[in-house]
Symmetry: C2
Subunit: 335 residues, 2 copies
């Protein structure tokens, strides 16, 4: 891993951005890399979503100016999705963009957050309200970092792998059913497939004009649930919120006749069997309502979702009102 | 102009961003457009460079959330380069990017700032320290707005037209010599040519990996002079700082034998004849020194400049130290 990084840096100056947990758990796995390739600085931010704030963002811009960071220097983000989201945004906006390399240390970041160039910070309790789409120069995936994860973190990452499984269906979905979730091990081949599902869609539609919106499956409801918890000062794992989102959105897919009840049941039963024990309580719909309009997939006040369909392809749904979302949500809570 | 704008908006919701001066001088020229196509809101910011701050940027992000601005809504920036720079950045970063339409009201913005997708805000006294490159959906150029400009504003815009003339040379340069600067009128054909010089270079190299750097001519020194004045609380016209930058950089082009003294003299004499009366005093080199490293065209601590050459093409110069810049600077001050 250190060799890959050294090769990618090609002797350029770099800054290492990480968080306090990663510094403790993962830094030793870099060996003597830092001693041989000293960074301009190692910057540690608070672990988790809280580092994705405008305050931290401005501190980093300011620190980069102090360090006289140039456009030819590189930012290396070493951490989970929060570090790559924050660092990706800071790098994309500092002097109109400096190169960034991601070394994701969580399964969630390896399979989702670090892939595809979306970055951002939270603003006034809206997740990723501010950000851009800007591709990293390289993403170095080193699956051994998954061994440092807590059980909840591992399951949070698997939620996005599962999401890619629902989107891709076919062989990927069948292989997923064979995974032992109790072992907390994701087969390397499955991780590669998961990354490639996302990568292929992003390559086709980097700026999310069409197909990339499929990747938002589970996220309209998932983000709203996550934001509701965040507002209460209660952070929940992103992936678990997405599982809850997928449960509701699959119900919606049945209601609008994209999926048969049997097809939906198969997926929902699996989701509960894999993640059921870990899911927090569904908030009341009234609590998540206001966050639904801040979803980025809103066109002319209408929520736009992509849902699985019987053909195996994802199908677009434009909702004229929140009524159908509310129905599907309440049905899911009760069942 | 109103018809063009209505057509471009295609009935979408929009926010109008402008500044207090433009609202007074140019808004009446929109006729009854606003009455027929009501915006979500009209936002007026302070006129000039001071609106390009992180505080104003965050106020706008916050206000957009209050207005529940969606990704399908449009930001219309109606003003000079400060309004298009600020608005371009806010639009590019809000929800990872909403469409933006520029209606430049100054000659500087028409020929330079609004063209090419560079946007940004100032940060800790560094001009455009934070920004991205993101193309507007449309730029609507309505030359009649130039009649609202002060003499200094008009000359500031002409400085960038002249810069495009030095870069393009040939016919453009000859036509420029025939312009009566006293009349404060730029022939429409010349304005079109100036826009097209920039547009062609940006199309070839939108992310400034190579040829786009030519457009930085005059700006390494110019930005440093502008930042020095800004630090003293004294704002000078961007274009006039660029003229001072061109004078120094042409001297440098002679010193490194890109240009003969005769060729350089022809350009320098014209620059003084057009702009000489308006130029502020050159600061001492020591005052501008620290700003030179914050220039975005710095690679491995070396300033990179593109300078005119005898062949008529712009030539790249990488400076190992600031010594050569300092020499050329001091020679220019004295002469």
């Amino acid at each position: 891993m250190s060799k890959l990084l050294a090769k990618q840096l090609q002797g350029r100056r770099y800054i290492l951005l990480t968080d306090e947990n990663v510094a403790e758990a993962c830094m030793p796995m870099l060996g003597d890399f830092l001693a041989h390739h000293a960074p301009l600085d190692v910057i540690e931010v608070e672990a988790g979503e809280l580092c994705k704030s405008s305050e931290v963002c401005m501190q980093l811009w300011s620190h980069f100016l102090e360090l006289e960071v140039a456009k030819s220097d590189v930012l290396v983000c070493f951490g989970g999705g929060s570090v790559t989201d924050l660092g990706g945004f800071v790098a994309a906006t500092f002097k109109r963009g400096i190169p960034v390399i991601f070394i994701p240390t969580t399964l969630l970041a390896m399979t989702d957050a670090a892939i595809g160039g979306k970055n951002g910070i939270d603003f006034e309790e809206i997740k990723n309200a501010i950000g851009v789409i800007s591709q990293p120069e390289a993403v170095i995936v080193f699956p051994d970092f998954c061994d440092t994860l807590s059980s909840r973190q591992w399951f949070s990452g698997m939620a996005e792998v599962v999401k890619h499984g629902v989107i891709a269906r076919g062989d990927f979905w069948e292989e997923l059913k064979a995974v032992s979730f109790e072992s907390h091990k994701v087969p390397l081949k499955l991780l590669q497939q998961s990354v490639l599902v996302k990568h292929a869609i992003v390559r086709e539609d980097p700026f999310e004009k069409s197909r990339r919106m499929e990747l938002n499956f589970g996220h309209t409801i998932g983000h709203a649930i996550e934001s509701t918890y965040m507002q209460k000062g209660n952070l929940i794992e992103h992936g678990l919120a997405v599982v809850m989102g997928m449960i509701v959105e699959i119900r919606l897919a049945v209601n609008v006749k994209f999926l048969s009840p049997n097809e939906a049941d198969e997926i929902t039963v699996l989701l509960y069997s894999w993640f059921g024990n870990l899911l927090p309580t569904f908030p009341q719909f009234d609590e998540i309502r206001s966050f639904l309009y801040h979803d980025k997939k809103v066109e002319s006040k209408k929520n736009v979702l992509f849902l699985p369909s019987s053909s195996g392809e994802m199908k677009k749904l434009v909702l004229a009102s929140q009524g159908e979302l509310e129905n599907a949500y309440n049905q899911s809570i009760k069942s």
